[in-house]
């Protein structure tokens, strides 16, 4: 029975980590947006990238999902103090829904390159999960909800944000690399298998 529990249940420790990264994502939303060009860059997707690259796929996914639940139940945690159900109804709803998926993809890739993780590799992973995935979901939803043409949707919904996203991908990887060496949270499959 204990074995069964380990497999199906989220342990309290994991629950605490999940809650922690939901909180981190929330706090990052309170940072002032950096104005680079016409569109402000917020730190919130940094939280998404960190959740994936520090916690791994499953817990990262749940952490970002929990963050969205907190927003949905009525807390003004999105950058600019937005919150409640309204952001999920707007044209940018697709981006919000893509965040947990992005954290999952980043976590999955990070777990797979855990032993060879470098800042460069981490940055690439964050670009795949944090930029490609987010816009792959966000832009089509924007297009559908707002009834835009593809090129307009791509321009207003993706191109202007990408420079900032690249910076965030690097920042998240640099932080994750330090955390990986000093307080690894993702289990190391090889060693765990050897000691068991």
């Amino acid at each position: 029975m204990d074995r069964a529990r380990e497999e199906t249940d989220v342990k309290t420790r994991d629950l605490a980590y999940i809650a922690l990264f939901a909180a981190i994502t929330a706090v990052l939303g309170t940072l002032p947006a950096i104005a680079v060009g016409p569109v402000p860059i917020t730190a919130q997707t940094l939280g998404v990238m960190l959740a994936g690259s520090v916690l791994g796929a499953r817990r990262g996914f749940l952490a970002v999902l929990l963050f969205l639940v907190l927003v949905a139940v009525g807390l003004p945690l999105l950058s600019g103090g937005r919150g409640g159900l309204a952001p999920f109804a707007g044209a940018s709803a697709g981006y919000l829904f893509s965040w947990p998926v992005a954290a999952f993809v980043i976590g999955w890739l990070t777990e797979r390159s855990w032993h060879r993780y470098t800042v460069l590799r981490g940055t690439l992973i964050n670009v795949v999960g944090g930029i490609v995935v987010i816009y792959a979901v966000g832009v089509p939803v924007l297009k559908a909800v707002a009834g835009l043409a593809w090129d307009d949707a791509l321009w207003t919904g993706a191109a202007v944000f990408i420079p900032g996203d690249l910076v965030k991908a690097f920042v998240a990887a640099a932080i994750a690399d330090v955390v990986r060496r000093s307080y690894p949270v993702i289990e190391r499959p090889r060693r765990a298998a050897a000691t068991r």
């Binding site: 420790r13 909180a23 159900l85 109804a89 207003t156």
Partner: protein, 213 residues
């Protein structure tokens, strides 16, 4: 730190069960997308304002804040539509989105966070079948809410300490000297919290787990 968008009032809308309000919101969304005409969108917008401002007696500022948050989106959307399709399509697309945003804001402002959390737990009920325990979801929500002020406080403390030592490092160095150590610190804290919870029985599983397929 006041953490809620809830506006207390004694109104019918406030007293409605959270689940009913959420269903109404979903129904409105379906209606607006199934019947994309100017009349429907306009009527829905007026109806939403009547419910929010008239029946629920919310301050105008509450709704205005959510509308202002999306103003650039809506403006850009309208311009793009006006240029590529036509003005009526742009108008009703903008009206439709504005209505949904405002309706969602009305639901949020009239429903307590605890009620919403209860709905989340209820929705999680069927997920028991795949091994999710709703009460654990509740625990995670509570922990996250507690961690938010703790994180802000810790970050402030580090900032103050660095200021006292003559300025904080910037750029990439700050990541290694400040942000990453802070993250390690709070990860340790989360671990301690979980051990304390487990010591008090948070990890106990109700004994009726025969359902392991």
């Amino acid at each position: 730190m006041t953490l809620a968008l809830y506006v207390p009032r004694a109104s019918v809308v406030h007293r409605l069960p959270a689940g009913v309000k959420l269903l109404a919101l979903a129904a409105l969304a379906v209606l607006l997308f199934a019947r994309p005409t100017l009349t429907v969108a306009g009527a829905a917008l007026l109806g939403t304002m009547a419910v929010g401002l008239g029946v629920a007696r919310l301050p105008v500022a509450v709704l205005a804040r959510q509308a202002l948050a999306v103003r650039w989106w809506l403006a850009a959307l309208f311009v793009v539509h006006a240029l590529t399709t036509d003005v009526p399509t742009g108008t009703h697309t903008v009206l439709r989105l504005l209505t949904l945003v405002l309706a969602a804001a009305v639901v949020t402002a009239t429903t307590r966070v605890t009620e919403m959390t209860a709905v989340v737990q209820r929705i999680c009920g069927p997920l028991r079948l795949v091994g999710v325990r709703p009460e654990r979801v509740g625990l995670a929500i509570t922990m996250a809410l507690r961690f938010i002020p703790v994180l802000i406080e810790r970050a402030d403390r580090i900032r103050a300490a660095q200021a006292a030592r003559g300025g904080s490092p910037r750029g990439v160095r700050a990541l290694r000297t400040t942000v990453a150590p802070l993250l390690v610190q709070v990860l340790q804290m989360a671990h301690d919290v979980s051990e304390a919870l487990d010591a008090r029985g948070a990890d106990d599983v109700p004994v009726r787990r025969s359902r392991r397929v």
